[in-house]
Structures are given as C-alpha cells and as structure tokens.
C-alpha cells in the first residue's frame, strides 16, 4: 500500500513538473521597476501606484541656544495612483541617512503632522506633507523612499525590492 502511494505521489509530481514545460512562448513576468536614484522636484514613482515629488527641503535650528541641534524638514507631495482610499502608512516609507547613519525622525516642527495619517482617495494628490529628521552633521542627507512592493521583476528576473534614494544638501 505504501509503495502504491509512493508511486502515485511520484506520478503526480512528474505530471506537475511536466505541466511547467515550455509550451511555445516563454512566460515572462514583468512589474514596475523603480529607479535607484532620483532628484528633488522630480516625479518619483516608487512602486506600481505611488508617486512622490519632493518640493522643498530646509534646515531649522529650533533652539537658538543650541545652534548645533539642526532638523531637516522635507516637504513633499504624494499622489495615490491606486483605485482606493489610502494613507501614507502602508503606501510608502520615507527615511533618511547621513554618513550611512539612520537619522532620528522628528515631527515636532512640521506644519501639519496629521497629513501623514490623512486618507486620500485613489487618483488624488496630497500636497505639502512634511517629515523632519535630526541632523548629525552638515553633510548631505540621503532620503530613502520605499514603496509597498516586496519583489520586483527586473527583465523577468525576481529581485528583492529597494528604496529610491534622493540626495539632498543641508542648507
């Protein structure tokens, strides 16, 4: 009985593998492949549906007594290109690094932090979202914007997804 079951299993596996055989044309999987880098004021498509445009960056010193404590405020627009209502959370994630070190986020000095959790209808754009990051030095900051794709098919080859990087100068 066990042998019969084993034989049947082998037969099923063989048929399954045979079904994967090429029949005429090769099946090529495709997906949107985001750029590796982008620039300020550029329409950056970070995944299949989300577009980000960084419109402004500024550096502030919230405490005049501590001139070394600087915060980078990044202002951007987000277009929800999906067909449904979304918030920034779950759609994309913007983080920042300076000299390879992740910067601490800070929302104390942005104009309206609730834009980060404001629901947007599909096809609409939310303007003037702001995020803040505590700077470590005066060197350039690399912003990383990651969409919600887990895998990208680059020329049919599946690869782990990656963030789009934008370099901004600290002014």
């Amino acid at each position: 009985m066990k042998r019969l079951c084993a034989l049947l299993l082998i037969l099923v596996c063989f048929l399954g593998i045979s079904a994967c055989k090429k029949s005429g044309e090769d099946k090529v999987f495709t997906s949107y492949v985001p750029p590796k880098t982008a620039a300020v004021n550029e329409d950056i498509q970070v995944d299949e549906t989300n577009h980000i445009t960084i419109v402004d960056t500024k550096t502030i010193t919230p405490n005049p007594d501590k001139p070394d404590e600087k915060i980078l405020i990044v202002t951007y627009d987000w277009k929800n290109g999906s067909g449904s209502q979304k918030v920034t959370h779950g759609s994309f994630l913007m983080t920042a690094k300076q000299d390879g070190v992740a910067l601490q986020p800070n929302l104390k000095h942005v104009d309206d932090k609730f834009k980060l959790v404001k629901p947007i209808q599909g096809g609409e754009t939310l303007k003037g979202i702001q995020q803040g990051f505590v700077l470590l030095s005066d060197n350039d900051v690399t912003l990383s914007i990651k969409g919600n794709m887990l895998v990208v098919f680059d020329n049919g080859v599946p690869k782990g997804s990656y963030p789009v990087e934008v370099s901004v100068a600290v002014n």
């Binding site: 959370h89 779950g90 994630l93 913007m94 983080t95 000299d99 390879g100 070190v101 992740a102 601490q104 986020p105 800070n106 929302l107 932090k113 980060l116 959790v117 995020q131 803040g132 895998v151 080859v157 599946p158 690869k159 782990g160």
Partner: protein
C-alpha cells in the same frame, strides 16, 4: 502506593520551591529546539553559499533559502507562545493567537512606520504604545503568556457557564493583547534601551570592558532579546567609524564559547541521540546561530552555561584589550572572520579570540561536568520516536497496572456483595420481628448488628 509516585501537600510546596527560572526557560524552549536547530543549520548553509559566491543576496534563490531558515526565527513568538502556555498552564492556541496578533503584518508595519517617521502611536487616542520589534522576540511573549495564565482562571470564575464558550476566548484575547502591547511587550525594549545607554557610556569610558561584558552576558542578552538594542549601536559604529567594537567581537566570543560547551557535552554525554544533538548544535553555534546550544544544552544543564559565560568573558576580554575591530556586520561566528581581515594583526587576534573562547569553554565544561538529561528530555529535544524495546517496556508496565486494577476491582466487588448480603439479612430479620414471626435472641441481635457495622466499615474503607 510508593511514596515517590505521589506528592503530599508539603512535598508539593517543596517541589514548588525548587522551580527556578532556568527550569522554566528550559521547559519553554525544549519542545521548539528541533525547529530552531533545523532553521539554524539552514541559515548557516545560506551564509556559506553567500560567502562562497554561489548565490547573490538579491536573487530569488536567496529569498527562498533565507525564508527557510529565517521564518522560524521571525515567527519564534508563536512557537514560544504555545510552549509557554504548556508551561504556565494557559490555553495554547489562545496564546498562539496573541503571538500571531503581535506579528500580524499590519501591526508590524504600523510599528515600523511609526518608528521611522516619529509618530507617537496611541490606543483609542489616549494610551501611548511603545515601539517594540516583536519579530524574533523572546521575553515579551513569555511575559504575555504568563499574564494570560493568570487571567484565564479569573475569567473562568467570573463568566457564567452559559456564555463561557463565547466570552472566554474573546475576553482572554482582548485583555491579553491590550496588556501585551501597552505594558508587557515594551518591558524587553525598555530593558534593552537602558542596556544600550549603559553600554554606550561604558564604551566611551572603558572600551575594553564592553566586549568582556558582551562576551560573558550574551546568553542572557539573547534570552531577553536585549541584544537587538545593541544592533543600532553597532550599525552606527560601522557607519561612522568603519568598525564595531561593541557588539560583534563579544557576540562572536560568546557563540564560539557555546560551540565549545556543546562539543564538550557531545563528547561526554552517554546517550547517542543527545551526542548527535549537541554536535549539531555546536556546528550551528560555530556559524553564529547559538539558540539550540543555549536552550538545549547550556541552560538545562546549567554548568555548561557557567563555562560559556566564563569562556566568552575571557575571550571577550582578549578582544577588548587587543582592540579587535569588526569591519562588517556578519552573523558573529566563524564566517565573520571575513570582517576582521584587515589589518592582518586584527585577523590574528580574531582567530586567537576564537581559540580562547572555544578551548576555555570546552575545558571548563569538562572540568565542571554536568548531569545528563533524562531519556524523555532528550527525546523531546531531538523529536526521536520511542524504540521498540521501550515501547514493549511501556506495554508491560501498563499490563501490570491493569492487572493490579482488576484485582482491586474484584476485591471491591466481594466487599460489596458481603454488604448487600448483610443488609438483606438484617432487613428480613427486622421484617420478621415486626410481623411477630420471629423473636430474636439477644445474641442473634448483637451478631447481626456487628455484621452490619463491619460491612459498613469495610464499604466506607473501600470507598
């Protein structure tokens, strides 16, 4: 019945006193070590394939292979929830549901997003929620299931029987999950954050001491999950200085020390399957995946843990005084030697550190000795089925017990018959007296009364 088979109340109290944290951790980890060791070997294989250039980190093969090894560690809280529930006598699948809630993608993404943008998460707009990385965590779920085990009896007492099937799981899940994310879950993070502050301060004052402490205390950091709090410190060091002295050298020393303890136990152990388990754990510890050595050998046997702490500490001390520098973030084990390759003296120091950690712990484990775990424990660890001879032994014992039970039953039956006979005789005699057909003598009366009394006593004793 033999005294050893049953415990009196006093003995139970004494037994309770003997219960300690190591037994508890051992009890929680024992059932899941089989998956940890499997996943650990797969992770080591993945690292080797990457190091030799057989697969790339961005390839789909890597994603699959990584998933095979890492999924167990990612979902570790679910495994821990079930085993903790068995230890704390909570409902296992409700505990698993709580762990699944903590690892639910929407929850983990929300935590990660809030932590990345600096958003203060709250519950119902009022109660603050601390960011916790629940993936691969250990301490939070153990604390949460312990809490669950305490509220379950209370809920069972409060909820009416009629509504228990609906309200019990609902309230258990709700209360446990909420208490978990608000108080119990963050405890590990708070401990870890405090530890990171202390280590950073120590590193600025006594840099040689940090690898010593990490080398010695790594097993405890891993148990509580506090080692994750040192990852940002190490990453920052690598990014800013180009090397790390805080986490990687000490962790490497500790993992190799656990490998040394595992191999020493493998050599001295008597049971074949345990020898094999220890050798496999030693190999994975060499590659930096030390959970199976820690939870299956060091913690349950205790003395190998002491040896690992000393061996790891000594090797960590060497790493500290020689200012060993890890130049890349590779799982701390043999493969991480690549990260110590420049200058050559750094590599030589790293090799010496490995030798010290391994040799010191190996020798200490031999010297200190250990008490080998029981066959049942080993079987639980290795997932090995029972042998035919052991099966026969169990069957024989069961048959013996069955025969004893049958004899007792027969004895009880005889006693019952005697009681019935005496009762009928007494009843008939009374009936005869009442009808005036019989006038019993005093002797007869006394005899009957004695018989009934004796039978009643016997019945009471059997019962």
């Amino acid at each position: 019945m033999a005294k050893s088979e049953t415990l009196s109340g006093k003995e139970m109290l004494t037994e309770k006193k003997k219960f300690n944290v190591f037994d508890m951790i051992g009890g929680i980890f024992k059932p899941i070590l089989i998956v940890i060791i499997g996943a650990g070997v797969l992770q080591a294989l993945r690292d080797i394939l990457v190091q030799v250039g057989a697969i790339s980190r961005v390839s789909s093969s890597y994603i699959f292979l990584d998933g095979l090894g890492s999924a167990v560690f990612y979902f570790l809280p679910i495994f821990l929830a079930i085993s903790s529930a068995n230890v704390f006598k909570a409902t296992p699948f409700l505990a698993a549901a709580v762990a699944a809630f903590l690892l639910f993608p929407s929850i983990t993404n929300l935590y990660s997003w809030a932590n990345s943008v600096g958003w203060d998460l709250t519950l119902f707009g009022k109660i603050p929620i601390t960011y916790v990385k629940y993936e691969s965590s250990v301490l939070p779920i153990i604390l949460i299931v312990f809490f669950q085990s305490k509220i379950e009896p209370l809920l069972k007492k409060i909820i009416p029987d009629l509504l228990r099937s609906i309200l019990f799981p609902v309230l258990t899940l709700f209360i446990t999950c909420i208490a978990g994310i608000i108080i119990l879950g963050p405890i590990g993070t708070w401990l870890g954050d405090g530890l990171a502050l202390v280590i950073t301060w120590l590193n600025s004052k006594l840099p040689w001491l940090v690898p010593t402490l990490v080398g010695a205390a790594s097993p405890f950091l891993v148990i509580t999950g506090s080692h994750y709090s040192l990852f940002p410190v190490a990453t920052q060091n690598l990014a800013q200085l180009g090397y790390d002295t805080v986490l990687m050298p000490g962790m490497m020393a500790s993992n190799i020390a656990l490998a040394g303890a595992s191999f020493a136990v493998a050599i001295r152990a008597k049971q074949k399957s345990y020898k094999s388990y220890c050798a496999s754990s030693g190999i994975t510890s060499f590659f930096g995946i030390s959970q199976s050595s820690l939870y299956g050998i060091a913690i349950p046997l205790k003395k190998p843990l002491i040896a690992s702490v000393i061996g790891g500490g000594v090797a960590g001390f060497y790493a500290g005084i020689m200012n060993m520098r890890a130049q890349s973030f590779i799982t701390p084990g043999l493969l991480s030697l690549v990260g110590y390759s420049t200058p050559t003296s750094n590599l030589i120091n790293a090799v010496i550190c490995i030798v010290i950690a391994f040799a010191a712990t190996f020798i200490l484990t031999f010297v200190l000795g250990f008490e080998e775990p029981s066959k049942e424990t080993v079987r639980e660890l290795t997932g090995e089925p029972i042998s035919e001879s052991e099966k026969q032994e169990i069957i024989d014992k069961a048959e013996e017990l069955e025969a004893t039970a049958r004899e007792a039953e027969e004895a009880l039956g005889d006693a019952g018959m005697e009681v019935t006979r005496a009762t009928i005789a007494s009843g008939a005699s009374r009936l005869g007296q009442a009808a005036g057909l019989v006038s019993p003598s005093e002797e007869e009366n006394k005899e009957e009364e004695d018989q009934v009394q004796k039978a009643d006593e016997q019945e009471g004793g059997d019962a």
